[in-house]
Symmetry: C2
Subunit: 447 residues, 2 copies
Amino acid sequence: VNSQTTAAERLGQFVSTTGWAKIPPGVQHEAKRALLNIAGCAAGAAGDEAVAMAVQTLSPYSGPAACTLIGRRERVDAPTAAFINAVSGNLFDFDDTHFETGIHPSTTVAAAALALAEERGSSGAEVLRAIVLGVEVCCRIGAAVSPGHYRRGWHISATCGVFGAAAAGAALLGLDEVQASAALGLAASQSSGVVENLATAGKNLGVGNAARNGLLSAHLAQAGYTASPTAVEGAFGWARVMGDEFDLARLERGLGEAWEIRANAYKPYPCGYVLHGEIDACLQLRERVRADAIEAVTVRGNQLLLDRADRQVFSARDARVSLQHAAAVALLRGRAAPEDFEDSAVSDAGLARLRAKVTAEIAPGMPDSAAEVAVRMADGSTITAQVVHPRGSLESPLSDEDLTAKFRANLVGVRLGAPAEDLVIQLWRLDEASAAGAVIARLGQTD
Amino acid sequence: VNSQTTAAERLGQFVSTTGWAKIPPGVQHEAKRALLNIAGCAAGAAGDEAVAMAVQTLSPYSGPAACTLIGRRERVDAPTAAFINAVSGNLFDFDDTHFETGIHPSTTVAAAALALAEERGSSGAEVLRAIVLGVEVCCRIGAAVSPGHYRRGWHISATCGVFGAAAAGAALLGLDEVQASAALGLAASQSSGVVENLATAGKNLGVGNAARNGLLSAHLAQAGYTASPTAVEGAFGWARVMGDEFDLARLERGLGEAWEIRANAYKPYPCGYVLHGEIDACLQLRERVRADAIEAVTVRGNQLLLDRADRQVFSARDARVSLQHAAAVALLRGRAAPEDFEDSAVSDAGLARLRAKVTAEIAPGMPDSAAEVAVRMADGSTITAQVVHPRGSLESPLSDEDLTAKFRANLVGVRLGAPAEDLVIQLWRLDEASAAGAVIARLGQTD
């Protein structure tokens, strides 16, 4: 590695020179897992009013309707599709998580890649290559400014997502090294999104713009737009202006050998990750107790769990970050599916009764994501279960079958262009498709 | 002022409750000056390849072509017009400057306002009101984070421009207080642009996105999108995440009484502001000397002038920040017009000979923007001239006639939808127009 090479040059070169065949089979397969996951998340959230409002606002300004909105009937142009699909993919934070950085990487990257591929008639392998490379760029840039960047208050999925979307666009457009580097440098001028707005629709704009503007960065670089080679790490470049030192060594370490998409995890439950250990413990307990005989539930975890999730529930948003609601759902229904965190579940009387019996207790030594749940029964007995590595953690990853089941669960009540079982087959075989657009179009709604 | 009111709430309320009649006549008039200035700048730069590339890339993704691109033949939808007109308006930094902050405020604001007004059939007074209020919001938010924000490396015209464009959109859409505040909060998640990219096309993306995304913030707020009330100044909000303390007192001081647009200055010459004192001095000297008898030119100024502008000239970009070129042009041609800073001027033999005779000398005590020029003649005599407040400074503002002349100079070689003399009349009377669109459409090219 030439120490004079800048981050944008290094990553631009990597993107432009890394063909599908250079990507190891296990990594290729991971791209299919990431896509299946994000497609289901987008389809499941596509009916939400936050998505509907964005479609209503943006679709009058769409050019030719070449692209599918996952889970919706409307078709729009590629930049608008990138925006909307990123919004729906990330809306419930049910998309994948790159633990080192806290980035949800596949959403912005896949939203840009799917839109461009459908517009251009790219192959399935080209889409998957774009996802692998986009996730790689997004997560490496994010890792080079972690953990300070997110802690400071930047919504890292958006601020780094724009680089990933630019890389995906560069890959699919076949940009050369110089153009691909320029695309990444142009992304540096389009990076935005603040944590203060995360609990509002403002979150959607950051993520949507990341996908759209990253895609346009690649187009503009192809048209001849240039950027400063040091746009990412220069004295007045992205990282420093945003408040971070840039760790070029982390950016480059193992590039082309260690793949960030393999450090990506998929959530089994559509709620805050801190609740997943607790849910797994409750699901174990449910095998052993009758919910209507429960007198009290005590959830033990570390300060992070209590800070983030010890709360009463007044809305679906609350439910997704409430340890009371998570325990009630898992103990009463034996699952934690998307509909278990919707308004109907919030107002369900049985869940409300059980939620009222749940209290939290600090367990200082417990690792992040671990939880212990104790259930006191009507007969005075107490049963406990503890989980250290919840399902979906890197230590206990979801299987392909789990991801297929998650996809189906996300599609409950959503009617797409093909039955879920057919879509599953087509997505698992996307690398064999000569035109990805035929598969992508079926992710839209037909009635 | 209620101390519990946030920045977005305070400014949103101001925008929604300040009608045209509440704006003093002198401020109303200033909006016409700002618009005449920016319309000419955009028309003059619209043929540049940086604009052409953006049009080529974005116009295939435009919806119905309701809006004019100033100085160009293509028509596009409102968000795309906002983007492109902001790019051309700011391209040569010939647009207005708010000295306290360094913001070029009218470009992003007017680009959003013109696009929306043409699409919606708004009146001329509504456009001018949107410009006044957009500039007010943009500059007050900028002032509340100055001087740290720009110094840190944020391209302040873009990062604050998105708030101004959102305010202009809110004004034209007639948003209520709550919606207008939300529009500003949504802008906080869409603020971007870094100084590292200022010498590249990356600058254009920051400015273009500010206009486009600000406009869309207003639309989304109208559709029901909300933002955190503390999106601007909260612990994880725009100002702090970007590295700045937020001076709420400066934001609010004199709101509705002291108008930021009156602290706005217009450049008479299409080059770095630091060169303007030198040019004025050279224009004085030219009345007294024959250029072909000049043996040497010494330009004296403070360190800022020398740091920014003591440079040889290889391109039009260099010419716009070269004190050598500025002196040669003013002494030889007796003016400093747009064509005097183009490639043809860079390669002009006479200018090159005179440039080679120009040297810079430090004059430590001299104020910013002042300059002294000494010309040594073939007969051994030396003549000097000094300027402290150059034309276009707040102390020596351009007159309405000067702005009219600047508009005409920007239009040399550009054929718009009406002769320049007619456009001048229509723009000076824009407040009387029941539909601004008829005037705006004539700012497009017709052949």
